[in-house]
Amino acid sequence: MAPLQKPGSFPLLGALATGCLLLIGLWTQEGSALPITSHCKLDRSNFQQPYITNRTFMLAQEASLADNNTDVRLIGGKLFEGVKVKEHCYLMKQVLNFTLEEVLLPQSDRFQPYMQEVVSFLTKLSSKLSLCRIEGDDQHIQKNVQELKDTVKKLGESGEIKVIGEMDLLFMSLGNTCI
């Protein structure tokens, strides 16, 4: 903490300068409007760790063996219908939080040891996205997320298995939309 508080220290100046540049950049880019999304971003490095990538795919593979319903897919084209590309990360944040709270935590004693590792990884991502917001109305997004939730609820236990079987898709979608 100490170096940050020292006035005139280079890191602070640097941070200020980048901050200003960033702000100027954003202001000029969006005219006088504020940026639509804020903090809806994840670092690429989150998705470049072979260990957790492999664990996520293994978890998905194991759960998907127990999912015989090949017609219904939760994370796919339909989820993004009517949602602008720059809102996709925010949408995935909603899906991630639902997945963690309502599926992975209740099912957390299953599919070990993968489950535990994937849950702690996704929890970190979720906290990194905690400030991710979009400006204005998000009803159209909530509608799509609600459809996913309804599908899972309707399928009951096997819906939860389906969610876990799509962990690889969740992982890749977060990467695609939030990097």
């Binding site: 998705f47 470049q48 072979p50 260990y51 990538t53 492999n54 795919f57 593979q61 998907s64 063996l65 999912d67 015989n68 090949t70 017609d71 219904v72 897919r73 796919g76 079987g165 690889d168 898709l169 890749m172």
Partner: protein, 231 residues
């Protein structure tokens, strides 16, 4: 005991009659071990005959779909095939998407049930072959040229899409001094042309290479040794 005996009876009857009169059961016809095998994104569906089909040849019907699609699609080239495999490379070319394939066997007008593969995502499951390697001597150096396996199809604009579009591939090059039998890693990186010095004259050097995918921590097998004699 009874079911076991019945089964044995059925088995004997099946082998005694020449397939015509006795209809094999659905269960015994079912193709076994239905799996995708994927190398360099060539995605081949493979299976084994049903348990009672050792000597008998049935024909097979293959369908596929992307996970989430409601309809299975027939694979025309494998619709009534006697083969035990079916090339679904083109049907599974969206490499990061999950797919399913399924097979049923038909013998003497009896259909087996469909047997489905596990969910299959080429990007995650494909095995990458070692790179093609050429080695030439230039003065006191070896010039190593590396080439990742080609993808099985062309991109949308007709150009050749490369493996590098799907992974951040890394080449690893090893140099082996034959006279001392010593191996040494001389390069790791994305460059396709690598130059490495050889210091000992009148000796034989060999080069092998492999492809590493950092994002999955997976390596290919090693290429064959390419050797050069230093005068």
């Amino acid at each position: 005991m009874m079911p076991k005996l019945c089964f044995l009876g059925l088995l004997i009857k099946f082998f005694l009659t020449s397939g015509g009169e006795t209809q094999p059961t659905h269960e015994s016809l079912k193709p076994q071990k239905v799996r995708f095998q994927s190398r360099n994104f060539h995605n081949i569906l493979r299976w084994q005959p049903g348990i009672m089909l050792a000597g008998n040849s049935s024909i097979y019907f293959v369908q596929y779909k992307m996970y989430g699609q409601p309809q299975w699609k027939n694979k025309q080239e494998c619709w009534g095939t006697p083969a035990l495999y079916c090339d679904l490379t083109n049907e599974t070319s969206d490499l990061r998407e999950p797919y399913y394939g399924r097979v049923k066997a038909v013998l003497a007008r009896t259909n087996s049930d469909w047997v489905m593969t596990p969910r299959f995502t080429p990007w995650w499951e494909t095995q990458i072959d070692p790179p093609a390697v050429t080695v030439t001597r230039v003065n006191a150096s070896l010039l190593v040229v590396l080439h990742a396996p080609d993808l099985p199809y062309r991109g949308q604009n007709g150009s050749n899409e490369s493996m590098e579009n799907y992974y951040d591939l890394v080449y690893r090059v090893f140099k082996i001094n034959k006279s001392v039998g010593k191996e040494q890693k001389v390069y790791e990186g994305a460059q396709r042309v690598v130059e490495t010095e050889v210091l000992t004259p009148r000796s034989s050097y060999c080069v092998v290479a492999e492809i590493y995918r950092p994002i999955l921590d997976k390596r290919s097998q090693r290429s064959k040794e390419k050797c050069v004699q230093i005068p």
